[in-house]
Amino acid sequence: MRARLAVHLVRRSFGTMLGLALVAMIIALALLGPFIVPYPDDVLGAVNLTNKLQPPSAAHWFGTDEVGNDILTRVIIGARLSLLVGIAIPLAAALIGVPLGILAGTAGGGLREAIMRLTDLFLSVPGLVLAIALVAALGPGIGNAMIALILVWWPGYVRIAESKALAIREEPFIEAARAAGASQVRILWRHVLPNSLSPLIVKMSMDIGQAILAIASLGFLGLGAKPPTPEWGAMISIARGYLPDWWWYAICPGALIYASVLGFNLLGDGLRDILDPRSNRG
């Protein structure tokens, strides 16, 4: 019955369906990429200068880049890295933030103050600026960019988990579990965490898009993936030098960033309607 309601809610909403379609497309590109790309040799940057900067044609649907690689091929392969990073960053951030938040929400007292003030400290600095500073300190590269973004991302999860845990710990069913002799750990794991999950899953699905955007931003600034790794942000960074005459070079990775961020945001919005209908929509 619940599943049917969920299907109904998804199918009724155009936005959710569009989000689902875009996300399905990105996932398909990531999974099938190596098998469907027209020029597998161009993935890691074969040099083919005779073909450089060609306009879109039947052979190269989105043209070629400055060393003659097929742009479509590189953009499709780029979906793997973006998707992986987009999922890994919110997941790792949630793994840090959720336990801290639930601990803060249920423990109260000095421990809660300590965790929440540390969280505020991180939240008070604009995320991308902090990430840039961290990458600058750690050194550029996709691994360090991910670490920096995870460090920027976890406080949001602390906030949500803490507020949910605060509300849930007052529920009579928690008292019933205590009356049965449940340990603190059992109450947290079996009652507080499962009941806090909905808004966290919604946030994670929204954050996938934001993380893809953030890693592309760092790539664009030269702090993330290094060419010739096919990464959307890094590609746009190079393509920027060829604007406006070779506009298709920048448009293609840009469109994919756009589509994936839009897709995950719309999907997250739809998930919220299903999982967390009472939360206020910002």
Binding site: E171, P172, A176, A179, A180, G181, H191
Partner: protein
């Protein structure tokens, strides 16, 4: 007299507010419950009934007095030491919708106390859970239902099955039917009554329905502003009440063809309790000394305890 199952002496709970102010929710409560006894706890909303229930089960720590359960002082023992005793005392909440974890099926909810107390596992656990649900009148098809798929009465039955799982000797029922439809209330009350008879449970039954308390409990304690003002056999206390507050409570029960007479005024704010007898601002019989001296519980001529200056009596022996 046998060892009481539950014994509270001078039990009190004071909450600290900001700026050093305090609210006393429960004060000076003496109670003794022998195995199998039924005590009704009545009083207006906010008089501390629910807080007292939580104090008795040590779901909230007392700030004054002591509680012992089956001869063990549980006032301050660590939660780990209390766990084996938790098996023997259970609570039924007012609102069954809030008392069930929305993420657990009825079967999982009933199984939880058995798992925590390590009483059954595997096939034996499944059989116990099914038997418990059957005992409360729910068939095996309810095992995998989630709370949102159950009616209010069914949810309360699941709560009762969960509370019975560990075969407790003491059950605290915090207005177990006030969140249910009237027709369902009667069913549940009837069921609870048979349950007590068959299982030999002792219970503390909190309610503001005086008729229900009279029917289901042999003894009644009337609370006003955190204190017990009258206590004794249900028939005496509710049949021939001595305390003006108990009389007002009884007069406020509507009857056919008769307008109910509510106690005048509002219950006082526990943060600013009245001086002397807490009931004096609303009491039709109040005398000057009621404003200055708080009356102690004394044994009246009828043999039950009353805290009122106007009722002659002798000092009650300490429990």
């Amino acid at each position: 007299m046998t060892t009481p199952l539950l014994l509270a002496q001078g039990l009190g709970k004071t909450y600290a507010l900001k700026q050093g102010r305090t609210v006393t929710a429960v004060a000076d409560v003496d109670l003794a419950l022998t195995p199998g006894a039924a005590l009704g706890l009545v009083g207006e909303s906010g008089c501390g009934k629910s807080t007292l229930a939580r104090l008795l089960l040590r779901l909230t720590p007392a700030t004054a007095g002591r509680i012992s359960f089956a001869g063990t002082d549980i006032t301050r023992i660590p939660e780990r030491a209390l766990r084996p005793l938790r098996r023997r005392m259970q609570i039924i909440h007012q609102n069954p919708s809030a008392a069930l974890d929305p993420r657990l099926t009825a079967g999982a909810a009933v199984a939880e106390p058995l798992i925590i107390q390590n009483l059954a596992r595997g096939a034996a656990l499944r059989a116990r859970v099914a038997a418990l649900l059957a005992e409360v009148g729910l068939t095996a098809e309810f095992l995998n239902r989630f709370p949102h798929e159950l009616s209010g009465g069914q949810k309360q039955r699941v709560c009762i099955a969960r509370a019975l799982a560990t075969e407790p000797e003491l059950l605290v029922l915090d207005e177990p039917t006030s969140a249910l439809d009237v027709s369902v209330q009667a069913q549940i009350l009837e069921f609870l009554e048979t349950l007590r008879a068959t299982r030999g449970l002792a219970w503390v039954f909190i309610s503001h329905n005086l008729a229900v308390v009279r029917l289901l409990c042999e003894e009644v304690a009337v609370m006003y502003l955190g204190r017990i003002v009258e206590q004794g056999p249900a028939n005496t206390v509710l049949g021939a009440p001595l305390h003006p507050y108990t009389r007002a409570l009884l007069a406020s029960v509507p009857r056919l063809g008769q307008i109910a007479a509510a106690a005048p005024g509002e219950p006082p704010n526990p943060a600013v309790p009245p001086s002397g007898c807490a009931f004096h601002p609303r009491c039709p019989l109040a005398e000057p000394r009621c404003r200055t001296d708080a009356p102690a519980l004394r044994i009246a001529a009828t043999g039950h305890a009353v805290a009122c200056h106007l009722v002659p009596g002798t000092k009650r022996a300490a429990l």
